[in-house]
């Protein structure tokens, strides 16, 4: 889990990173496996640093500084020696978690106290910068490292206290600044409404319990505390001691001078028969008069542990006397007298209450739960840590000490040479009073957009300043400039150069345009030439297609001024577009897939639409020619950059885009239908052919799928706002789970090259338990529930999408989606961005999303159950990989031979034997909620088909179906509404027919019959068990090849039948039975089908 050094370094300022490097070097020298806080301390001490300096100031005066530093070095060295060294020397021992945590903590601390950071951080924060760019300064890093217990121990060994060192670090050595110390901000300060609490928390030392007892004492009613809890007795004792030892100062002012008198011993003596009533009465009288006479607020009578009053051995009369006496005492002197006691458990108190029901009222008791022993009990106070941290709470808020004068920051900051030059140029310009916008403007374009906005603001400021021409303003300007260049330099040349390049690359083309049109409408040729030259640099690393695009752009920008010219140009461009279109038509149809890429966000598309069209066309060819993964993924990543960027810039250039958008709109919209008309047919046909090859039985569905997809890709698809969306949404409704899955995977193969681009997720996986050896089990059927254990479904999907943005997402049982997934999907279909549970969004622009559900859109009923079937899909889905065997038995007559066939299928057990059905139902009800894509169908379908017993669901178990999803009705209704809404938004709802298993069964039986006659002769009857038939059907359904089962019959079944004939002496009366061996599963699978490779003979 340790963090690589480079990652850690990114969180640090230069100075702090140097320390980290030193620490890494120390760790390497000692060949330790990780770089820890100790290494950092060692590195810090080796050089004259803030820490060393602070230590020097914090040390106690008892020893000579040299000696104490020597001791410190020694103890650090010894602790380092104790660390285990790793077997192999690492080049850069990674940063340990504790050190990384220290870095993170200091980062958080800096974020909380932005005023203490460098100036550029402020700017960054102002622009809502992500935290990752917040660099930890050395001082904060040291402070956090000192928090590490192991470090404070090492320091302690050398006689330093880490809290002293911290104070020394925070407080600068030179006392230029006034040392104003604000009181620490504790939460108690915040709770102003409660004066007692506030006055207390700053004064009471440690004992929370005492504080709360005092709180009760101050109340008007229920003012007599009864401490309840295992530690109550201790708390009571501790409070008594605290008061009587004269530490009353810790009490609130109202209670100052309070005293506690214990009546505990007298009472317990009395109830155990040790004294007379008179004696006790006297005692109480004394107490009463003491209360009257006392000058302070009064006295607290401690009656001790309630247990004394309820024990078996004590006499009830005595207890009654005590209670009545105490009650009277309170009545007489209630103003100045409190009662206080303790009960070990609540039961003790309840027992007393049982005996004296009115005692709570009479004694005015307030049960006070006590949950821990007083803190200074020895259990905790030993910790050296605690002491060292206590005075430290509020120091971070002493802001005045942190403020470093602005100018100093700037001076200490070294710009790189390039930036300095530019800065000087610009400063000269300002001094001359010339335009300020030139260099920095262009330069800042290569900054991340957020930063640039800041720059623009700064620019404005400068402009304002320009109006007043006095030298002061000039100075200010120069200062600002200086700062700006520092920031720029900082951002570009010292931090993450990689990132900037990627940004720059894409900002150049579009950002330039905006600025050109917005700021300098004159669009002088000089400007554009500057830009051109700028383009040259970054684009050298770009794919060639992109480069080609740039000239276009330049061309467009110049004529923007005159509309007529512009239109001309557009038509010219259109020609070009259509030409390239034609060229591409010749390439395989999927070359045209990337047209969805057109759908850049509206702002971008409107401001330079023609450009983006060409870009995408260029990309299109690239896709077609190069199916290599890396290429395409890189481009898509880049494109995302571009999109992101354009989003962020859009705000600035609203006005511009508005003015251009209407010119531009025709170009994109007219190009759509044009090429659409052409490609539609080709696309459609090839799609349909390809899909039909894979799934031959879903003609209508395939037809509508192909139509929808080719339509979407031709650009007639979804227009969200003004832009075209690249994501295609389909729903596959109805039965035929296998067909749907196979079509989805065929789509993936067809559109994105490989079957791997299918992301298949079963949203109903949570409710499902797949038993092993089911044919439609886990991996075979892509119910990848196991893959995302511990993740939410949408996080899994998002993760996969991130890995392969070009893919088909196949969501099974979409009706089972949980709230999170529902929300994410609704959002995705609206915005084209899929958000994971952390809110991170991924563009689904290149994704086809297929949502499958067993429900159908119209009537929401289960199609297959409308008429009874011999082999309904639900049964097939439950098929298992059983081993098969052939049994021989004799039959009485040959009445069974019908239709001239000697092969028949036994009817399902359920039809014959109601008992066994019931037995099975028990298990199957569980299965069926769990199984398949059956949404709420079991219930409804069952209502329809009750008379058929079709679903194997017992009537009386109906209610149980719902117990799996314990959601209340409102929830499921809710999800129904959600589904409906979602289905209304998709590109196409495709209804699937149910797979005709009965027909297939007939075909298989016929086939077997034929082959059987060939090998066994006409006389022998073969009976195929229902389960065996189901298994064969399942295999046929699932198999990729049409003839898989036929081949199996030929190769496996016939061979076995032949063997059987040899083994048994078959007569006309004998019948062979093909049955499944329940409980034993297929060991060896036949090639191409989920059927056993051998059949056992009995």
């Amino acid at each position: 889990m340790p963090t690589p050094v480079s990652a850690a370094r990114q969180c640090l300022t230069e100075e702090a990173a140097r320390v980290l490097d030193d620490a890494v070097a120390v760790a390497r020298r000692r060949s330790h496996a990780q770089t820890t806080s100790l290494h950092a301390i060692s590195a810090l001490l080796a050089l004259p640093s803030a820490l060393r300096d602070a230590c020097a100031r914090a040390r106690s005066g008892a020893y000579s500084p040299r000696l104490q530093f020597r001791a410190l070095e020694l103890s650090v060295g010894v602790s380092l020696d104790r660390l285990p060294s790793s077997s192999r020397a690492l080049e850069e021992p990674p940063v340990s978690n504790s050190l990384m945590a220290a870095i993170k903590r200091s980062q958080a601390n800096q974020r909380r106290h932005p005023e203490s950071c460098h100036l550029h951080h402020q700017i960054i924060q102002g622009q809502q910068q992500t935290t990752s760019l917040l660099k930890v300064e050395l001082k904060h890093l040291i402070l956090s490292i000192l928090d590490d217990p192991i470090v404070s121990r090492v320091l302690g060994e050398a006689g330093f206290r880490s809290c002293d060192i911290k104070i020394a670090i925070i407080q600068p050595p030179v006392t230029r600044f006034s040392r104003t110390r604000f009181p620490p901000i504790f939460l108690c300060n915040l709770t102003d409404s409660d004066p007692v609490q506030r006055s207390f928390s700053l004064e009471v030392s440690g004992d929370e319990n005492s504080r709360r007892i005092a709180q009760v004492l101050l109340k008007k009613t229920g003012k007599n505390p009864l401490l309840v809890g295992t530690c109550a007795i201790d708390a009571l004792r501790s409070f008594t001691e605290c008061i009587n030892k004269g530490k009353g100062s810790s009490l609130p002012a109202e209670l100052a001078g309070l005293s506690v008198s214990s009546a505990e011993n007298d009472i317990s003596e009395f109830v155990n028969g040790g004294g007379s009533e008179d004696k006790l009465g006297l005692k109480f009288k004394e107490l009463g008069s003491a209360a009257e006479q006392c000058s302070g607020p009064g006295i607290v009578v401690n009656f001790g542990d309630l247990k004394a009053l309820i024990e078996e051995s004590v006499s009830g009369v005595a207890v009654s006397f005590v209670v009545s006496q105490l009650t009277r005492l309170l009545e007489l002197h209630g103003e100045k007298l409190w009662l206080m006691g303790a009960a070990g458990t609540n039961e003790t108190y309840s027992k007393l209450l049982g005996r004296f029901p009115s005692i709570e009222k009479d004694w005015d008791l307030h049960p006070l739960p006590i949950t821990s022993v007083p803190f200074n009990d020895g259990f905790c106070s030993k910790s050296s840590l605690m002491g060292s941290f206590v005075p430290f709470g509020g120091f971070f808020s002493t802001t005045s000490d942190f403020r470093i004068p602005l100018s100093r920051t700037n001076q200490s900051f070294t710009r790189c040479k390039l930036c300095t030059e530019k800065y000087e140029q610009e400063a000269a310009l300002i001094q001359k009073g010339g335009s300020t916008s030139s260099v920095a403007d262009q330069y800042s374009e290569s900054l991340p957009s957020w930063l640039r906005m800041a720059e623009l603001d700064a620019e404005k400021l400068v402009d304002v300043a320009k109006t007043t021409d006095d030298p002061e303003a000039l100075n200010a300007k120069i200062l600002r400039l200086q700062k700006k260049w520092n920031d720029i330099c900082w951002q570009i040349h010292q931090v993450q150069p990689k990132l900037d390049i990627s940004h720059a690359r894409f900002q150049v083309p579009s950002a330039e345009d905006f600025l050109l049109s917005a700021n300098r409408k004159e669009g002088s040729s000089k400007d554009s030439s500057v830009i051109k030259s700028q383009h040259a640099n970054p684009s050298s690393s770009m794919p060639t297609d992109f480069q080609k695009v740039f000239p276009f752009e330049q061309d467009i920008q110049i004529p923007v001024a005159s509309a007529a010219e512009n239109r001309n140009f557009q038509s010219e461009l259109l020609d070009k577009v259509s030409k390239s279109q034609q060229i591409e038509m010749k390439s395989p149809w999927f070359a045209r897939y990337p047209t969805p890429n057109l759908s850049l966000p509206p702002d971008c598309a409107s401001s330079s639409p023609v450009t983006s069209v060409t870009t995408d066309l260029g990309l299109g060819t690239l896709y077609a020619s190069a199916s290599q993964e890396p290429d395409s993924s890189k481009i898509s990543g880049d494109k995302e950059c571009l999109q992101n960027f354009s989003g962020s810039v859009s705000a600035e250039v609203d006005a511009v885009s508005e003015s251009t958008s209407h010119q531009v709109a025709p170009s994109s919209s007219c190009s759509g239908p044009n090429m659409g008309g052409q490609s539609d047919i080709r696309d459609f046909k090839s799609l349909r052919r390809f899909l039909a090859e894979k799934v031959c039985w879903q003609d209508e569905a395939i037809c509508s799928i192909s139509k929808a997809i080719s339509c979407c890709r031709a650009g007639n698809g979804r227009h969200r706002g003004s832009s075209l969306r690249g994501d295609i949404w389909l729903t596959f409704l109805g039965p035929d789970k296998v067909g749907k899955k196979r079509i989805a995977s065929a789509l993936a193969e067809l559109m994105f090259g490989t079957k791997e681009s299918l992301i298949s997720v079963d949203l109903g996986f949570q409710d499902r338990v797949y038993q092993s050896n089911m044919i439609f089990g886990h991996n075979e059927f892509g119910c990848s529930g196991t893959n995302f254990r511990g993740k939410t479904v949408i996080d899994y999907i998002a993760g996969e999408l991130r890995k392969k943005p070009h893919s088909v997402v196949f969501l099974q049982n979409v009706d089972k989606a949980d709230n999170l997934a529902q929300r994410s999907l609704s959002q995705a279909i609206r915005t084209g961005k899929f958000a994971d549970s952390y809110g991170r969004e991924i563009s689904i622009n290149n994704t086809v999303i297929v949502m499958a559900s067993m429900i159908t859109k119209g009537d929401r009923t289960f199609l297959s159950s409308k008429e009874p079937k011999q082999f309904p899909e639900e049964i097939i889905l439950k098929a298992r990989r059983y081993q098969m065997q052939i049994l021989m038995e004799c039959i009485a007559g040959d009445s069974d031979r019908s239709n001239g066939m000697n092969v028949r299928v036994t009817p399902r057990k359920g039809f014959l034997n109601p008992k066994s059905v019931n037995k099975r139902r028990l298990t199957e009800t569980r299965d069926s909620m769990v199984q398949g894509e059956i949404f709420e169908m079991p219930k409804r379908a069952h209502k329809l088909s009750r008379s058929y017993l079709d679903l194997n669901l017992p009537v009386d178990d109906l209610e149980d179906i719902d117990y799996g999803d314990c959601d209340s009705d409102s929830i499921s209704e809710n999800s129904e509404a959600w589904l409906e809404e979602l289905f209304d938004q998709v590109d196409e709802n495709v209804d699937f027919k149910s797979f005709n298993f009965d027909a297939l069964a007939g075909k298989i039986v016929k086939d077997i019959s034929l082959k059987c006659q060939r090998s066994l002769g006409t006389k022998v009857v073969l009976e195929i068990d229902y389960e065996a038939m189901v298994q064969m059907l399942a295999a046929a359904w699932l198999s990729d090849r049409n003839r898989a089962v036929e081949e199996w019959v030929e190769q496996v079944l016939c061979r076995s039948l032949a063997e059987a004939r040899q083994k048994y002496h078959l007569t006309a009366q004998s019948a062979l039975k093909l049955v499944t061996c329940e409980g034993t599963f297929v060991e060896e699978q036949a090639p191409g089908a989920c059927l056993p490779a051998r059949i056992n003979l009995n």
């Binding site: 889990m1 978690n97 504790s98 945590a101 993170k104 903590r105 601390n109 590490d148 217990p149 192991i150 121990r153 901000i185 504790f186 939460l187 108690c188 915040l190 709770t191 102003d192 009471v204 030392s205 440690g206 004992d207 929370e208 319990n209 709360r212 309840v228 809890g229 530690c231 009960a343 070990g344 458990t345 108190y349 049960p367 739960p369 006590i370 949950t371 821990s372 803190f375 259990f379 905790c380 840590l385 605690m386 941290f389 709470g393 808020s397 949570q766 254990r789 511990g790 993740k791 939410t792 949980d818 709230n819 999170l820 929300r823 549970s837 952390y838 999803d965 314990c966 209340s968 929830i971």
Partner: protein, 266 residues
């Protein structure tokens, strides 16, 4: 005062609905621990989330070592938050440490809570004469010492142990939040947790409680759940979660969410 407190403890109110639901995280985590569960409740409840003052996401300056010596100060915080939000009735889901806080809060303000759901709760972690809390005092001392000596190693050992179930993501998440805490605060809080004993006061709880217990929890033996059920004063049920570990909301959020929803609707 209210707002400052709400800000300091990162109080959030999410979702729509009539009823309030408080999700209170346990020791070593912060409110982000509920993110897997939260979406299941936002449509039906106004969910109140906050960080304990000891959580890593709260400014450590707010942690007053003198004040947070017992659980009562945490209870103060909770009640202050609910008062500041003007909540008059709410359901409370507390995990581990927060379960203890919930118990105490419901003793102090029984009218405030409709129901307590206690996940991985324990009135006392240390063993006693006739009580099995799961830890011996000696063991605890050792653990605390280990914490002090090498926080890093301790977290790495403790996180997988606490999460229990084999869910690497959950371990990573728990380690993250655990590391976020300042080590000295972690140490201090764990001392006060191990130091507390709620057994005597359980009977004072009048609110009905639902105790969620996973099949195997390193911090809380199953006998503790039974103990809680028998000793809490209200109407109590024990719900066993078919998963392992002390942090079911991290390791099995889906399962927990459904169970919670059912428990809340009862």
């Amino acid at each position: 005062m209210g707002n400052t407190l709400l800000e300091a403890l990162n109080v959030r109110v999410e979702g729509s609905g009539q009823k309030f639901l408080v999700l209170a995280h346990g020791f070593g985590t912060d409110q982000s621990v509920w993110k897997g569960i939260l979406p299941s409740f936002t449509p039906y409840y106004r969910v109140i989330l906050y960080d304990l003052v000891c959580a890593g996401s709260v400014n450590p300056d707010y942690f007053d070592f003198r004040r947070y010596t017992t659980l009562d100060s945490y209870v103060d915080d909770l009640i202050n938050i609910l008062d500041a939000l003007k909540v008059d009735r709410c359901a409370y889901v507390g995990h581990s440490f927060s379960a203890m806080i919930g118990i105490l809060a419901s003793i102090r303000r029984p009218e405030l809570f409709t129901k307590l759901i206690l996940i991985g709760a324990s009135p006392r972690f240390l063993n006693d004469k006739d009580y099995h809390g799961g830890f011996e005092r000696g063991e605890i001392e050792k653990v605390l010492y280990a914490m002090e000596a090498n926080y890093n190693a301790w977290v790495q050992g403790f996180a997988p142990l606490a999460v229990g179930a084999d869910v690497p993501d959950a371990v990573r998440e728990f380690s993250r939040t655990l590391f976020n805490m300042r080590p000295d605060i972690t140490l201090f809080v764990s001392r006060s947790i191990f130091n507390s004993d709620l057994r005597g006061v359980l009977g004072l709880v009048k609110v009905s409680c639902c105790i969620f217990q996973t099949t195997r929890d390193v911090s809380v033996p199953t006998s503790v759940a039974t103990y809680l059920r028998d000793h809490l004063g209200g109407r109590n049920t024990v719900e066993t979660l078919d998963t392992e570990g002390h942090l079911p909301h991290l390791s099995a959020p889906g399962l927990l969410a459904t169970k919670l929803r059912r428990a809340l609707s009862r």
